[in-house]
Symmetry: C2
Subunit: 341 residues, 2 copies
């Protein structure tokens, strides 16, 4: 059915090996033969069978992307579209294909990854976001399989990873609110098993401490990365006898929920409550009011992760194991009010 190297060889009157060598620009091929073969290649519309190629070369020109479980929820958040966008773009640009996988349960997840890794389906994988003591990391290390982690691992600080400095980011966000005159600052956190939650919490607490402000446990609530948790957090905060005047919110999507909750309760942002979020998703700019946010460079993280992985599988030298993408604070209306104490 399909055109193989043998078909081309026959038609060009050479051996299959010669065709193969023309294809891979082997130095010891005469210009005349090369030209001839190339002509037939064009004429017949030859395309290499990647399976056969991979079988012998043991490389697939493909990288795998392991989505954290449950992927369902994940996609609600723009963070992932954005990071995937970075990965897709970079890998396409380098001529690598991208394979995505996920699983609903822990078992399914590990199974899918095993299929990819042990089935020699991909040359390396990107692990998207790390949990505390992620079993996948151990799995990869155990098998000596190339991978880069998006995020940070506390147990294995020496693996290839791309991340931002979440502690500093949260510190900056909190610091900004303090600079606006706020002294009563709350925090809407994420799931505690995600490292990002812990890191941002740490930065928040440190900023308070450095400013000589005592943290109030009742002003810290745990949520997830969905809007509802922001919404819920507000019903809680605003019923407190003593309320914060500003909050740091773990994610812009959650901040959207916060905004909606406040509006429904009849409060105004930033006058009644200032807020700053994370990730600077595109909608933050156009919400009412626009949300101040820490721009994490999510796209850049995905792009860099892909780049790092591809370099690694090609065996290129790694300047550094751990890349930190810089963040920056984007101040918008939601935190633009000076508090008089």
């Amino acid at each position: 059915m399909a055109i193989t190297i043998v078909d081309v060889a026959k038609k060009a009157g050479v051996s299959p090996s010669t065709v193969s060598r023309v294809l891979s620009n082997h130095p010891r091929i005469s210009p005349a033969t090369a030209a001839k073969v190339r002509e037939v290649l064009k004429e017949l519309g030859y395309h290499p069978n990647i399976m056969a190629k991979s079988l012998v070369s043991k490389t697939t020109n493909t990288i795998g992307l392991i989505l954290p479980r449950p992927a369902e929820e994940l996609f609600q958040n723009l963070f992932f579209s954005e990071v995937i966008r970075g990965i897709v773009t970079q890998s396409a640009r380098t001529g690598y294909d991208l394979m995505m996988t996920t699983g609903t349960t822990e078992r399914e997840e590990l199974e899918a990854v095993t299929r990819l890794v042990k089935g020699r389906r991909v040359d390396g994988v990107i692990l998207l976001y790390s949990r505390q003591s992620d079993p996948l990391i151990s799995f990869m290390l155990e098998h000596g399989f190339p991978f880069v982690l998006i995020g940070r691992s506390e147990e294995f600080p020496d693996i290839l990873s791309v991340d931002n400095d979440n502690v500093q980011a949260a510190y900056d966000a909190t610091r900004h609110l303090i600079a606006q005159g706020h002294k009563r600052i709350g925090f809407v956190s994420g799931p505690p098993n995600l490292i990002v939650s812990g890191d941002r919490m740490k930065g928040y607490l440190q900023a308070l401490k450095d400013a000589g402000i005592e943290a109030r446990p009742e002003w810290i609530v745990e949520g997830d990365f969905l809007q509802e948790s922001g919404y819920r957090a507000m019903s809680f905060f605003m019923c407190l006898p003593e309320r914060p005047t500003a909050i740091v919110v773990i994610d812009d999507v959650v901040a959207f929920g916060v905004l909606r909750g406040l509006t429904e309760l009849g409060y105004k942002v930033p006058d009644d409550l200032s807020l700053v979020g994370f990730n600077n998703i595109s909608l933050s700019e156009l919400s009412t009011p626009p949300i101040s946010s820490i721009d994490i460079g999510i796209y850049q993280i995905g792009y860099t992760a892909s780049q790092t992985l591809i370099r690694a599988v090609k065996g290129e030298a790694m300047p550094q194991k751990r890349v930190i993408i810089p963040h920056r604070l984007i101040v918008r209306e939601s935190s633009l009010v000076q508090v008089k104490n």
Copy 2:
């Protein structure tokens, strides 16, 4: 390095073919041998090399997803996360792997697809969203390669496709505004080369016509699927000597831009201008005010597309070529005002 069928065969004291047959549950294998082999399989931690498997079986257990160009922009819109979520979930559930590809230029795009299709890398592909006279469709048909289209093709109505009824959806949206008493209704459209734009425009015009309302060309503006275009549309609409009292907006993300534009100009939604969008992205519910939207069942579209494709590559019977996912109108505050004429 890796464990092959031959290693297992040796250790179990049988031939490689026997191992292969155990693996594929061949009927003529004695229970005793099967048990023995399976034991060794476990013990050695065997995993099939998918490349070798594919090479002989000519099937890859992988489907491809072709993202429309330019993928960069695309991902800004939640539509795609959502549809990809549906595809990933379904394919993972069926044990299929998913391969994503894209290209920056037309040439790159076709190249990537060719690599997938002619390189026998995937068993079939999903074409995400169709343009007018999409060259990829012709390409697939020409090569007799299994594919399903998300969207609609005017030239090839007989191919496998999953879509919603965009004409009817826009009709319903417009009808809803008319039912609220509006007679002056505008439309913010999408890029004219996308079929979805044309379809929604058609439904909008038809609804007006059926209600005996004349369409006003100056109340129809063309945008893209990004927020800015909604924002821009407002600066235009609101400066008109005669303004619409309601608008249909091609996408919720664009509606966000509209909302922001109106707020900045000092107008209130829905009092000064009512609006209804499409796609019912998760943030629509929590914006201020919440946006009325046509829920297209995007996740369902992705899920069904994957399901259809996998059935097709397995050679299962297709009940129908063209699947239409039903939509429904979600009425929220942004269109909840009765107009007195």
